[in-house]
């Protein structure tokens, strides 16, 4: 089976700080392979261990790409296609078109796996869009997957329950973090990754309309309206006042 995995490189959002003056984020933090991209890749590796075949990693990014691709190949990707852009924000519609073009050019892809959303922009659009462009069905938010020849059985997350669905290959799947525990590559896998084929493509060569979708006007930390009181450093005062508030509210 030929599996394509779409992965994303993101800022480490846990480390992002806010400029208190402008309320804008400070992007001076490391880039990393998105967590759900790891889950997507891990699932592809597990399927390949059963069915055999090949895993192609596809990534679209601006500047400073590299570590995320190396990591994806070290985990178990067989080859990588990097789509280079000039950086800056791209609407998901553009990203999805670019990834779909690369998948079409591979010709024999049976299954495409994505994380169901990325931690940075959290749009959750890429997987279903790629499915539509390729003309194949999609199942999103999959937390359990079984492969029986050309039929997949998936358990997907609903808000307060789960559902089981069946889907025929070729198709697109997006996964949640419950689906597996991504592996950490060994040193020999990390070294071995260097020899794997990596092809670089230019976004502008793929023949995609780059003027689509939405534009960001600004990104700012939200104003906090509810907070009556915030305590810093002095746990003693905080504890005392919280207890007295609980008494006042009749909770204790």
């Amino acid at each position: 089976m030929h599996i394509a995995v779409g992965v994303k490189q993101v800022y480490d959002v846990d480390q992002i700080k806010i400029d208190p003056r402008t309320l804008e984020p400070v992007y001076d933090v490391p880039l990393k392979l998105d967590d759900l991209s790891r889950n997507a890749l891990e699932e592809a590796i597990r399927i390949k261990e059963i069915t055999g075949g090949k895993i192609t990693v596809i990534i679209l990014n601006g500047v400073k790409i590299g570590e995320a691709v190396k990591e994806a190949l070290a985990m178990g990707g067989d080859e990588a296609k990097i789509i280079l852009s000039e950086g800056g924000f791209l609407d998901t519609a553009i990203t999805a078109s670019a990834i779909a073009e690369v998948i079409k050019s591979l010709k024999d892809v049976d299954l495409v796996i994505f994380g169901h959303a990325s931690v940075d922009t959290y749009t959750g659009q890429t997987g279903p869009r790629v499915a539509e462009i390729l003309g194949v069905p999609v199942v999103t938010q999959v937390r359990e997957l079984r492969v029986n020849d050309d039929v997949l059985t998936a358990i997907r997350d609903l808000e307060d329950s789960l559902e089981e669905v069946e889907i025929k290959l070729p198709c697109v799947i997006t996964v949640t973090n419950e689906i597996n525990e991504p592996r950490l590559p060994s040193l020999s896998q990390i070294l071995g990754a260097r020899k794997k084929p990596v092809e670089e493509l230019e976004l502008s060569d793929l023949g995609i309309d780059l003027e689509r979708g939405i534009e960001i006007l600004h990104n700012r930390a939200p104003r906090v309206e509810r907070l009556k009181r915030i305590y810093r450093d002095d746990t003693d005062i905080a504890a005392r006042e919280i207890i007295s508030e609980l008494k006042k509210e009749g909770i204790i």
């Binding site: 806010i18 539509e132 609903l158 329950s161 889907i167 960001i216 915030i230």
Partner: protein
């Protein structure tokens, strides 16, 4: 006046609350709402929806009983073409998010997902959504288009509109000959033990609790407050608390008198499940943790300092 087409969401014979929130959109964007409901035996639900919609379009067929993005799209396509709406609204839910990107591609319309606010500014549609794990609120402008597609975050469009009592129209549906996707069944998570949705006082723990052994500290505090212990998804996924103690979109929605969040950063999936609590107190080391946006009292500090202090004071009375 904009034409707003709302795609209703229901499951197991019940309308999902997000449907009514979408019908409230006409209070943000002046417009006429048409609600499409697809399913089987949905007359009663269509009736209920018609109270809050200008029009209801009902499509009934055996094959539409349970959500299937492949079939739902076929049913929706014709309606979208006939109605030619300005805005198509879906929930930012398992259903909405399997359909919205698809619709956006098919009709080449800009899509903004997970929005918490929408407004018209100088003839342009602006939306607000959280990014970077809810730390940042982005304002986005949608490029000019005949139709826009949005998915709304649950719990953010609660401003209720007046009753409308719209007409219900029924349309027919013929499913395509071959489909490659099939609904099999609902899988219910097991329900056992404590029902946190009925508790008055909840002490909830997040990743900041660091280790399974530290859950004991939360239990001690819960006991002193006469409450119960719950947790956010990372804690449940690690197996430190059972699934029925999970608060959030994939767990339970709670509205206790007191919600004490210990080391919970506040991913939106969690916040949706607890933000209507009467009093929210959050303790977290990260001053930018999004949980502080919904808290009434916040303590920037180490839970391992603050919690023992609270327990000690509670014991003293």
């Amino acid at each position: 006046m904009k034409k707003i087409l709302v795609v209703a969401e229901h499951r197991k014979g019940e309308i999902r609350p997000v449907t009514f929130e979408m019908l409230n959109l006409s209070s943000s964007i002046p417009g006429e709402t048409t609600c499409v409901i697809l399913g089987k035996d949905i007359g009663g639900m269509a009736e209920e929806i018609s109270k809050k919609a200008d029009r209801v379009i009902m499509v009934q067929h055996d094959s539409l009983e349970n959500f299937n993005s492949e079939l739902y799209w076929v049913a929706l396509e014709e309606i979208i073409k006939e109605e030619n709406p300005d805005i198509i609204a879906l929930g930012h839910t398992a259903m909405g998010m399997e359909l919205a990107p698809f619709i956006s591609e098919r009709i080449d319309a800009p899509l903004a997902t997970d929005i918490v606010k929408i407004e018209e500014v100088n003839g342009k549609i602006h939306v607000h959504k959280y990014v970077f794990s809810n730390k940042i609120l982005a304002e986005l402008e949608l490029r000019d288009s005949d139709t826009y597609v949005i998915t709304i975050r649950q719990g953010e469009f609660k401003e209720e509109i007046d009753d409308k009592n719209g007409e219900i129209e029924e349309r027919s549906f013929t499913p395509p000959g071959s489909i490659s996707k099939r609904f099999i069944e609902y899988v219910e998570p097991e329900e056992v033990g404590v029902d946190i949705s009925k508790a008055d006082i909840i002490v909830s723990v997040g990743r900041g609790i660091e280790d399974e052994g530290n859950i004991e500290l939360a239990e001690e505090l819960a006991e002193a407050l006469n409450g119960v212990v719950a947790g956010s998804r990372p804690v449940i996924d690690s197996g430190w608390l059972p699934k029925e103690r999970q608060v959030g979109i994939s767990g339970k929605t709670v509205k206790p008198k007191l919600y004490l969040a210990l080391g919970i950063s506040g991913a939106f999936q969690h916040i949706v499940g607890m933000k209507d609590s009467e009093l929210i107190i959050a303790i977290n080391r990260d001053p930018e943790a999004p949980i502080f946006q919904v808290a009434h009292y916040g303590v920037v500090g180490d839970i391992f300092d603050v919690v023992p202090e609270l327990i000690e004071r509670l014991k003293k009375g």
